[in-house]
Assembly symmetry: C2
Homo-oligomer: 145 residues x 2
């Protein structure tokens, strides 16, 4: 009988693969994983600073800066200087950015839908319970470092 930690690690390998399969699909889009995630955060958090994005997604600030620069160049986002702190720009999605986000969102949604298509209502409820259970058990250990 395997120990808890080994089972945990088995699951991590398994779920890494699930996430990989889901992400693959995203490759029909012109956006990388991180780009998609950044668009998501901007959409989610309304006008948001680069620092706030960094707090959500762990990534190098230099790299983030470059991705945002490209987004701006592509007309996906707009920046507005913060009134309280002139160092920070608050970033929002433009109409074009919102459209890009929606496309990614819809694709991702469909992916998951396909993944759970065979599950009954009860099974879907169980699935979500398992996910929330894991999160509950691990939270406290995964607070922002």
């Amino acid at each position: 009988m395997k120990k808890v930690i080994d089972k945990f690690r088995d699951f991590n390998r398994y779920y890494t693969r699930v996430l990989g399969l889901l992400d693959d699909h995203l490759l029909n889009s012109p956006y990388s994983l991180v780009e998609a995630r950044i668009l998501y955060e901007i959409h989610e958090q309304g006008p948001v600073s680069a620092s706030q994005i960094m707090a959500e997604i762990d990534m190098d600030k230099g790299y983030l800066s470059k991705v945002l620069k490209q987004f701006a160049k592509d007309g996906l986002i707009s920046k507005q200087l913060s009134a309280e702190d002139a160092r920070v720009s608050l970033i929002s999605l433009t109409a074009k950015g919102l459209k890009a986000y929606h496309a990614l969102d819809a694709a991702s949604h469909q992916q998951i839908e396909a993944l759970i298509s065979a599950l009954s209502k009860a099974e879907r409820r169980q699935l979500v319970e398992h996910m929330e259970g894991i999160r509950k058990l691990l939270s406290g250990s995964t607070k922002d470092s």
Copy 2:
């Protein structure tokens, strides 16, 4: 009340972060994520072909070839031509490779241990049940494409 798919996606974002934190720790080692995973597969599957590794980890064969080349150069693996099929080499860990694997394995083990250190026995059992529950519910949908 959020729908199942949205909760699924929430969990994916959450768990991506958990995996990211765990992987971070691995950065004290001289090996990248994929390298660690490849070492794991070689250890797990005994003498194994590059193709078999590719079946487990989804990655470009050219890239895998290069990583394996470097492993060989570093003395972590040895190759032996397959008796049945002269195109394939069967890869094994050398003593040095095994040592490298064990170091990674121990570090990863400790990481998880730290993550669940606050959990009681019952909670750990629940955690594993949730993980196995997810896997059971999703398997069939996640067969090799």
